[in-house]
Symmetry: C2
Subunit: 177 residues, 2 copies
DNA sequence: TGAATTGTGTGGTCTGACCACTTAAAGGAA
DNA sequence: TTCCTTTAAGTGGTCAGACCACACAATTCA
């Protein structure tokens, strides 16, 4: 017998086809996607498998379901995935130290970005780092920091902040071509 | 009528309880978790709902299912969530820049940590940043970097690396108490 | 001993049946 | 007519049962 590739699970197939459908029909946040039963029909996949796919996408925060109404595309900005991951990832003991390191790294980097963009001012450092990060206008950075910060707890350490800024001034991230 | 809070969906309840079970039983990567039918029994939740939960966790790369064998905890290093999210999230144009920034931030921070720990040596910089990051012994940092890096693509920019190291030397993350 | 067979457990999938809820249409009272 | 009530249809939420495909270990048989 040659290869005999195993076909992808209906579950994954459903996700792929739903994604494709969204893209093809130019659906955006807030738009409604077909009902579970209709999807099951159109994709020739049992409703169970369609639901498994939808639930997974929902857990990721990519869609939103409202009983009696339907399933809607969500604004990707507020995806849930990371807090989710966190609960799994941040279990161990060592990770606690790691969190502090990563948080510091992100904060430093954030400042560096601000300095590069000349958005930041020394005075503004009286604000919390959280507010500063919002100014980076980097959604990805914001997301990650928010998550980390969520697990690190608050530590308004002004002294550390000053050191970070000093370091940040030294850094010049090369603008990408 | 007062509040009348809606009970959380079985789907979410299943996820929560499975997580709790994992924590309680001290299960780690590679370990097997109860079968779908047993979970359905123990949690008093229909197998369909249990499956929806498991599929979602699988999509995140947190568990792995093998037909005929069972469901196993996966090493968090290779969680799938980001490629997944990516197809939804990283469509736009701006996000692409964000990725580069975050990647640079992490790399810089990584070097700073290495310098602090006196683990890094100038010579070692001939290696890729990826290998350096492994030495930080910071799982969280490794995870995030791997994800980001996955979307940023490779750019072996030695010059940038040198600048980063110089900056890193200036930085002294205060050891946590 | 060693190979083939069987049995059991597991995930993968589908179907049909309810329930709870939302919305809009249909109906009747003013 | 207008307004409220009732009804119907559509949707997600959940469950139970039934198969199938597969992996593994126990059993059987040559």
């Amino acid at each position: 017998m040659t290869g005999s590739v195993r076909p992808p699970s209906k579950f994954l197939a459903a996700i792929a086809q739903i994604q494709e459908m969204i893209k093809r029909d130019r659906l955006g946040p807030g738009d409604k996607i077909p009902s579970e039963r209709e999807l099951s029909d159109r994709l020739s996949i049992g409703r169970s498998s369609v639901r498994e796919a939808l639930r997974a996408l929902e857990l990721l925060g990519l869609i939103e379901t409202r009983r009696g109404e339907g399933t809607f595309l969500r604004d990707f900005k507020d995806h849930q995935l990371v807090p989710l991951i966190g609960t799994f990832l941040f279990d161990g003991d060592q990770t606690k130290e790691d969190i502090h390191d990563v948080k510091a790294i992100l904060e430093l980097g954030c400042l560096a970005v601000l300095v590069r963009n000349e958005t930041a001012d020394a005075k503004e450092l009286t604000n919390s780092v959280g507010q500063l990060i919002e100014k980076t206008d980097n959604r990805l950075l914001q997301s990650i920091w928010m998550i980390i910060s969520n697990y690190a707890g608050n530590d308004p350490d002004d002294e550390r902040l000053q050191k970070l800024l000093a370091s940040a001034r030294e850094i010049q991230y090369s603008k990408r071509q």
